[in-house]
Amino acid sequence: MVSIELGDQQVETENALSSAHERIRLNEEVRSESENQASKERSTPWTGDEQVALAADIVMTRLKETLLMAEFSIESVSRLIGAETREVTTPSNEGVAVLGDDGEVEASMDEQAVRKALEGMDQLRLAIEEWKSVTLRGSENT
C-alpha cells in the first residue's frame, strides 16, 4: 500500500498533461521553463481513518478493475482469433496463460474463471465493509 504511506500527493493537472500530449503530437522540442520542475514530490499524510477507508477502497476498486480488464483481454483474444470453426471433439485451451521463471505455465485464466471471480466480489465487498466499519468504530472509541 505504497500510496497510503505516501499520503495525498500533489499531481500534474489534466491541463498540463494535455499540453504535454499536444507537444508530442506536434513534435515540438521543448525545454521546460516551468519553475515547477524537479521538485521534491509533495504530499499530505493521510490520517488513520482515511488510511482505513482508502485501503478498503483500493482493494475493492483495483481488484474489480483488474478482473474486468482480464475479462476484456480474454474476450479480445477470442475476437482476434475468430469464431471457432472446428468440430468440437476435444476440449480446447482458451484464454490467457502466464509463464513462470522456468518458462512453464504458472497460471491461466479463461472467461469462466474470471466470471466466477467477479461473482465473488459481492462477498468481498460485504466482508470489507464490515471490517472497515468495525475498524473505524474502534478508532472512535479510543
Binding site: V11, N36, V77, V98
Partner: protein, 266 residues
C-alpha cells in the same frame, strides 16, 4: 472479520489464479493495454492476429487458442525450435501496407552499453522477430523498438526518477549513425534495430530524429507527481496518467497511439 475478507479473497484468487503472483495485476494491466491497442488497430482497418512462439498463427479451429503471456524474469525472444508454448505476440499489418509488425510484452532489448532493458510493450518489425525466432535459442534484439510503452499499474503518483529511468533505457537502446564505428561487433552496417533491414531500419542521425521517429509512452493507472512532466517535451516522452478501464484518458491514449501507428508504420 479478517477471516471473512481472507476467505472472499481466496475465492476470487482461486479462480483468477494469475492474481496469485505478486506481479499478476501488473501483467493483467499490460495485457489489457495490448489487447486494447490490437482492437483499436483492427478498428482502424489493420489485419491483426496472434502469433505463437514458434511463429505460427493461431487459427479459429486450433485446439490450442491460448494467448501465452510472459511472466517471471524478462528475457529475449524464444526460438521457434523451442516450441509453441513460449510467449505469444500480436502481429499486424496496416491497411494497404506490405509491412508487418509485432507487438511484444516484457521482452528485453540490448543497449549500446551491453545492458539489457525490458519494455513492457514494444512494437518491432516482424522481420526482426522472425530472424530471432530462426535461431535455435532465439535471441535478444539490439536497438530501439519503434513503439515502447512503460506500464505502471500502481496507485502512487509517478515520480521524476521513474521518468529518468525510462529515458535512460531509451537512450541506451538508441543506435545512431555516429555510433556505427563503435558497434561493429553488434552489427555492421548499423541498423536502428538489429536484426534489421536497411533502408527500412536505418539508424538516425540524432537522438531527436530517433525520438520523433518512434513513440515512447509512459502509461500509468494513477497520475504524475507535480514536476514530473519537465523532461517529457525535450525527450518526446508521451506521459499518460489515469489510464484505467473506460476512462477518457484511456480513450485518448488509444486514439492518439493508433493515429500515430497508422500514419508512421504503413
Amino acid at each position: 472479520m479478517i477471516s471473512a475478507v481472507s476467505s472472499a479473497l481466496n475465492t476470487i484468487v482461486g479462480n483468477a489464479t494469475v492474481l496469485q503472483n505478486a506481479n499478476g495485476a501488473g501483467r493483467v494491466y499490460e495485457l489489457y493495454l495490448m489487447t486494447k491497442i490490437a482492437d483499436s488497430l483492427r478498428s482502424a482497418g489493420a489485419d491483426v492476429w496472434i502469433r505463437r512462439s514458434d511463429g505460427t498463427k493461431v487459427h479459429p479451429g486450433d485446439v490450442d487458442r491460448q494467448f501465452v503471456q510472459r511472466g517471471g524474469s524478462p528475457s529475449g525472444l524464444p526460438g521457434s525450435a523451442q516450441g509453441a508454448n513460449g510467449m505469444s505476440a500480436f502481429a499486424f499489418q496496416l491497411q494497404n501496407s506490405q509491412r508487418e509488425w509485432e507487438m511484444w510484452n516484457g521482452v528485453q532489448f540490448s543497449g549500446r552499453s551491453g545492458a539489457k532493458h525490458e519494455f513492457d510493450i514494444a512494437i518491432v518489425p516482424s522481420h526482426t522477430a522472425s530472424t530471432l525466432r530462426a535461431r535455435n535459442a532465439g535471441g535478444v534484439p539490439f536497438g530501439r523498438p519503434v513503439v515502447a510503452i512503460e506500464c505502471k499499474d500502481v496507485s502512487a503518483a509517478g515520480t521524476l526518477d521513474e521518468m529518468r529511468a525510462f529515458i535512460a533505457r531509451l537512450y541506451d537502446v538508441t543506435a545512431l549513425d555516429g555510433h556505427a564505428p563503435f558497434l561493429t561487433s553488434v552489427c555492421s552496417p548499423l541498423t536502428s534495430i538489429h536484426p534489421g533491414r536497411l533502408p527500412l531500419d536505418g539508424p538516425h542521425r540524432t537522438y531527436r530524429n530517433s525520438n520523433i521517429a518512434s513513440r515512447s509512452v509512459l502509461v500509468r493507472r494513477a497520475g504524475f507527481s507535480s514536476g514530473t512532466l519537465a523532461m517529457t517535451g525535450y525527450y518526446s516522452i508521451d506521459p499518460r496518467g489515469n489510464v484505467v478501464l473506460g476512462s477518457s484518458q484511456e480513450a485518448n491514449l488509444l486514439s492518439d497511439l493508433t493515429a500515430w501507428i497508422v500514419k508512421n508504420l504503413a
